[in-house]
């Protein structure tokens, strides 16, 4: 063979090798996640779910013939780390797709970068982040509905207005932070819609040690309803304070982050009796969540080993579902074109472990599906009682309802 022929065959061989190497290159999905800091319990739970998803997908041959690889960094639940994490993911790690970390506080700082780079951005449990950005490639897996602050608080207030006689007054309280502020905005709008008089509307610093002065000040206004938006440490503090002071009101709760996961369910135990709160899943309505029980069994085994929320009723199903949505969109569009993915996700309905998912124009769910529940009959601090039906009454939405609210709050603390 002459020299030209040799060079050409060498070149061809190199090309073939390069092409196959390209096909072998893993499909990288990048994100920041709270692995330390106040929301780390949830962040780690979400990470486990996403890892289970990646393993499931790779076991079936990967995505677009490529192995899926998760590239992630700890955002420490600190919003200021987020821009640099996502810049690194896109510029240095050259990831093919990005998703968000957990929580309003760490999703918002990533938005400007996503908008600059025209990335499709699937996000995990942020309340109403897109209301200020109006980004057309933003998606949210939390089922709060097209108007999240309203959807978030709808269940509590709708249930309240079914009480007889109708309540007249409401006290609003929450921590000075992004999520509670947004939730309380929604609550104020609900109060206006239902004609309730707001008799207390104050917030507290998140690191408050003793909540009893706050609860006493609320009690002094004699509200028919008390709506609380809080994060885990202050959820625990307020629930304790409410029990110690002996708060008398017809319905208490609404937007407490914390009681959805095992740590607070077991630590607070019977103190949660009578509290009305939101949940993402309850064993009472497991029939509405196809295949979820299989996933939960897999998740719970790993979670116990890694010392993370062993129940997995809050973030894990949705973290898995958001990856399922992306998986189906990538398969359907046959590639990673961000624009095509966004268009597909806006148009079609997805089958996931948490049921059918459809997105509205602003990227939120087209129909709200956050459960409003009331805890009851809890005794002791063990976890097993929460894993089976019986401790939770689902009050809303109407097609998930399993019972009516027990009122007043102080009579239900048994």
């Amino acid at each position: 063979m002459n020299k030209l022929g040799l060079w050409m065959s060498a070149g061809l061989a190199a090309l073939v090798l390069a092409a196959s190497a390209q096909a072998q290159q893993p499909l990288k999905i990048g994100f920041g996640m709270s692995l330390t800091g106040p929301l780390a319990g949830n962040g780690k739970a979400a990470l486990i779910s996403m890892q289970i998803w990646a393993e499931d997908v790779n076991a079936k041959g990967g995505l677009l013939g490529r192995k899926v690889e998760l590239v992630y960094y700890d955002d420490q639940t600190n919003p200021s780390t987020v821009p640099s994490i996502y810049t690194k993911l896109l510029d240095v790690d050259k990831v093919d797709l990005v998703v968000s970390g957990y929580g309003t506080n760490v999703i918002a700082p990533a938005m400007p970068i996503m908008m600059q780079r025209n990335m499709t951005f699937m996000s995990l449990f942020g309340l109403n982040v897109n209301s200020k950005f109006n980004y057309d490639r933003y998606f949210q897996i939390m089922p709060a509905g097209p108007d999240p602050a309203i959807g978030w608080t709808q269940g509590f207030f709708d249930t309240a207005m079914t009480l007889n006689p109708k309540p007249q007054t409401v006290a609003l309280v929450g921590a000075d932070a992004e999520y509670p502020a947004l939730a309380l905005e929604g609550a104020r709008a609900q109060a206006k819609r239902t004609g309730l008089k707001v008799v207390y509307d104050k917030s507290y610093p998140p690191n408050t040690v003793d909540f009893s002065p706050i609860v006493r000040a609320i009690q002094a206004t004699n509200p028919d309803l008390v709506f609380l938006a809080s994060y885990p440490p202050d959820s625990a503090g307020m629930v304790r304070a409410v029990n110690e002071v002996g708060l008398k009101t017809r319905m208490f709760g609404g937007g407490l982050v914390g009681p959805q996961f095992a740590a607070l369910k077991t630590q607070l135990g019977p103190l949660l009796n009578g509290v009305v709160n939101y949940e993402a899943y309850a064993p009472e309505v497991s029939a509405k969540y196809p295949f979820l029980e299989q996933f939960l069994a897999k998740y719970q085994g790993r979670a116990v080993k890694e010392g993370v929320d062993p129940l997995g009723f809050y973030l894990p199903p949705y973290a898995y579902a958001m990856m399922q949505v992306l998986e189906q969109a990538i398969k359907a569009t046959g590639g990673l074109d961000q624009g095509k993915l966004a268009d597909y996700m806006h148009t079609y309905e997805f089958d996931t472990f948490v049921g059918k998912v459809r997105f509205a124009k602003n990227g939120e769910w087209s129909i709200p599906r956050m459960l409003t529940v009331q805890y009851h009959g809890i005794s002791g601090n063990d976890l097993e009682q929460w894993m089976k039906p019986g401790k939770v009454t689902v009050l809303a939405p109407s097609d998930y309802k399993t019972g009516t609210a027990m009122t007043p709050y102080q009579d239900n603390k048994k």
Binding site: L35, T36, G37, P38, A40, G41, G43, K44, D176, K202, S203, Y204, P205, N207, T208, V209, D210, S212, P213, I214, R216, A217, A220, P232, P233, A236, G237, R240, N243, E244, V245, G246, A263, L264, Q267, L271, G307, V308, D309, N381
Partner: protein
Amino acid sequence: MEFPTALLLNAIIAGLLLGGFYAAVSVGISISFGMLDVVNIAHPAFIILGSYVAYIVNDRMGLDPIAVSIVLSPLFFALGMLLYRIYYLCFEKRGQESLRGLAFFFGILFITEVVLLLVFGVDYRLVETAYSSVTLRLGVVDFPLRLVVPFVVSVTMVVGVQLFLARTFFGRAVLAVAQDQLALRLMGINPVRVKEFAFALSIATAGVAGAFLIVIQPVQPAIGREYIGLVFAVCVLGGMGSIWGTLLGAFVLGLAESFTSTFFGPSWAPAVSFGTLLAALAFKPSGLLGR
């Protein structure tokens, strides 16, 4: 602005109970910073360490966390001695205590936090004691035992520290080392040993305060940082080097926080607390009971 009696009385009691707890977390800083001029910014980390120690023993053996922490305080004392030894040999002896010593303690703060994170994970921990959910009611005033028990033990501890410093020989040596190290040396006492002992005492109080913390609220490794501002504020407000001052300063801040939360809006509580500090220092720069 009306102050209904029941609400007022409860606000005062809540403020005092909170102040008692603040005194416990701050008395160690009063010794190390107020008397020994050691800027132990890692003090809250030892409080959190104390919380976790109390948590493990309560979790495994069901023993009362506060009792456990008192029994285990010699361990924290020993840790304090070791820490001061290192600090002295590496920094104070060479006159580099101000910046490098501070960096050293910052390092200790972060290392302790990360080690706790690796060992215990990130979830919040809480303990259940026999008195966690009990509230005594005297007339219109509530006394939640969750706050009363730490208050009683805390005030006893602070008063105990003060009596030790004022009445015993070694205690007086500690006060002396704060005033004039050379004079102390001329009297045949090694000031380094005295400071080591005093620093160890401050860490021991941190360990006990940690047990109070976990009885009162859930704990996770990173919350120590929220207390840095508070402990130094209480120490400075009370007057550097005065234990009675620390107690008084803690009560003042506890009452300010409680009153603001009850009558004006909890958002204002930190502003009022630190505003009180600034106002007090404006009128008496050496602190309420400072010399």
